[in-house]
Symmetry: C2
Subunit: 367 residues, 2 copies
């Protein structure tokens, strides 16, 4: 558990960023944002934040946990007859706030209306990405936690590789990698592992089936760990269990070339859409442009998908301390798919690739 002052520092950073905004307080309703700002690991809780207000609105399940995890916060435990939005509006009213910032990317239309009508004189000011923009840039403790999640994922993959058998099913492989990550300290997988044999790998988000490893020449593994702190890793590798066909060699080579080129283009100041374009140009030049059907990557942290996003639509600029995935892929219906994914820490001059699972074609063979 990180030291409480780390969370106080994050709240200070947020308040500093919000100076000059037309509202007096911000109501944080996104659970992950609340955790980021407070260290609280439960859910279903809001945070009301202003220079002189720091109140978490929660329920009776969390009374004890809040006193342990957030001893420095004011806590409002709502009665069971109040929904969280009713309880939050009471806290807002009591604090005599007249202009309130809300998280427009998270607050639902219903709760917005309830908040608006519950306090007659209240003006709501929609905000977007205030906490997320802070979360994009990881502090030293967050980088250390993501390194842990990378370590757990890599250990899990090594165990899977070692245990891989022709008769193993995709589901068994998924469970094997998750179980192994837990042996190394992960609480859970960062997301349900994708284990896709042969043509099932043509679905970028395939769900593991009872199909067996030996049904084709290769299996795609997309997996990650959640460290005890909640921080996540996210990797993808192909494992070749059979023959390397000329087609596989070609497709794999294109994806690897695209991934390396994109990684080389990462540095503070680079635009996300430009990094995306670097990989896309390599794949387009090889004639597979339409078969690279998703963005190049995304930030990781407390969520497995967070800002920034690598896509043609994103003009966000990379900053030192961001941690992003780089994961180009080529998907060919009826044949299969190849994706290679690493996690990269953006630095002033380039990036540090945090993940180190071998990815040369001759290194991914398992017999």
């Amino acid at each position: 558990m990180p030291h409480p002052t780390r969370f106080a520092q994050r709240r200070q950073n947020l308040l500093a960023q919000l100076k000059g905004q037309p509202y007096e307080a911000l109501l944080i309703s996104n659970e992950t944002n609340v955790s980021y700002l407070t260290g609280f690991t439960g859910d279903s809780s809001y945070l009301l934040l202003a220079p002189k207000i720091c109140t978490i609105i929660s329920d009776g399940r969390y009374t004890t946990q809040l006193s342990q995890e957030c001893p420095d916060l004011d806590v409002c435990i709502r009665p069971q007859t109040d929904t969280i939005i009713v309880a939050a509006s009471k806290v807002v009213k009591q604090a005599k706030i007249s202009k309130l910032g809300i998280e427009a990317d998270h607050l639902t239309v219903v709760n917005y209306e309830k908040l608006r009508t519950s306090v007659a004189t209240l003006e709501l000011c929609p905000t977007s990405g205030a906490v997320e923009s802070l979360r994009q840039v990881k502090d030293a403790s967050e980088i250390a936690e993501i390194r842990k999640a990378v370590y757990q994922a890599e250990k899990g993959f090594a165990v899977l590789r070692a245990q891989l058998q022709p008769e193993m099913t995709e589901l068994e492989a998924a469970h094997t990698v998750e179980q192994a990550m837990r042996k190394f300290g992960a609480t859970v997988a960062a997301f349900p592992p994708i284990i896709a044999v042969g043509e099932r790998a043509a679905l970028p988000h395939a769900r593991p089936t009872n199909g067996r490893i030996n049904e084709a020449d290769f299996v795609l593994v997309d997996w990650g760990a959640t460290a005890a702190s909640g921080y996540k890793s996210d990797l993808t590798r192909l494992i070749v269990t059979g023959k390397i066909s000329p087609k596989l060699e070609k497709v794999y080579g294109v994806v690897l070339k695209a991934q390396r080129a994109a990684i080389r283009s990462i540095r503070a100041g680079a635009r996300c859409r430009d990094v995306d374009a670097v990989a896309r140009r390599v794949i387009e030049a090889a004639g597979f442009g339409k078969q690279f059907s998703h963005g190049l990557g995304h930030g990781i942290g407390l969520n497995v998908h967070e800002s920034p996003r690598f896509s043609a639509a994103s003009d966000a600029e990379l900053q030192p301390g961001m941690i992003v995935t780089v994961e180009p892929g080529i998907y060919l219906e009826g044949w299969g798919g190849v994706r290679i994914e690493d996690d990269c820490l953006v630095t002033r001059d380039g990036c540090e690739v945090l993940t180190s699972v071998p990815k040369e074609l001759d290194q991914i063979l398992v017999n």
Copy 2:
């Protein structure tokens, strides 16, 4: 995979329920609602539904999967430069819809504004709970799927009970029960299992630690399975590994009495707040009213928490086919907590308790 006509039937039911509403089409943006209405098992997709429109708006990762899972739907794959809300607004515009229902409990303030401003002549009509009210009442296939999830959970618990050792940690126990459920066909736990030894059980939503089973006389286990179809189960039992103190005997007896009384009061037509009150009265009479700090239970289905809710604030009426948890608890800081939870199928005259793990005090001892 259920037969596609089941999903067509659900869409028919929804459209029938929406007759007479002032809007021509409903935009379903909640992922679980989209899955319920279409059979699609991916995420990040919206459904536009009207008597003559049934279009799923998704992205390139899901092209193949959609053609396999929802061959009867029109599919709009958004370009990578369009966000899903932009793509949805284009579909709405093309369909010449002038009044559009939206899911106000799910759509965010930002996406509401984007939708509203993207089509100049469009009027948005906030709706609440349209799909959720259908989802509350399970059809035969859903009941069968939840029975599977109950079976998987009970098998997992039996394995945990059999493998329980004094030196085992809470985390190891959590992993053991999840792994065992998977051996019986679950894809994943319905939620991270709660394994809380002794005083840690005073936190209703405790997270497993490296604390060991033998650190106290009892351990609370709250767990459930997710069947391959996505349907979930949710149970809680105490396991006594040491002595039964007079205090444990008393508290356990009160919780069990409250739970049984509540289960007896369940039938079609009963109000949720009245069922909640039945359990609460038993616990209050024993002097533990303040220590029962949450609602009595909730619906289960594709989500582990869904409508209806048993709470003092809910005047919803039970209907045949609803499946609800009944889980009173008493939490005493510094000592521990007791909760007993079963899953109940509401019938015309009462309910069928779907879960059958023994719960008499003398049956929960493990030596």
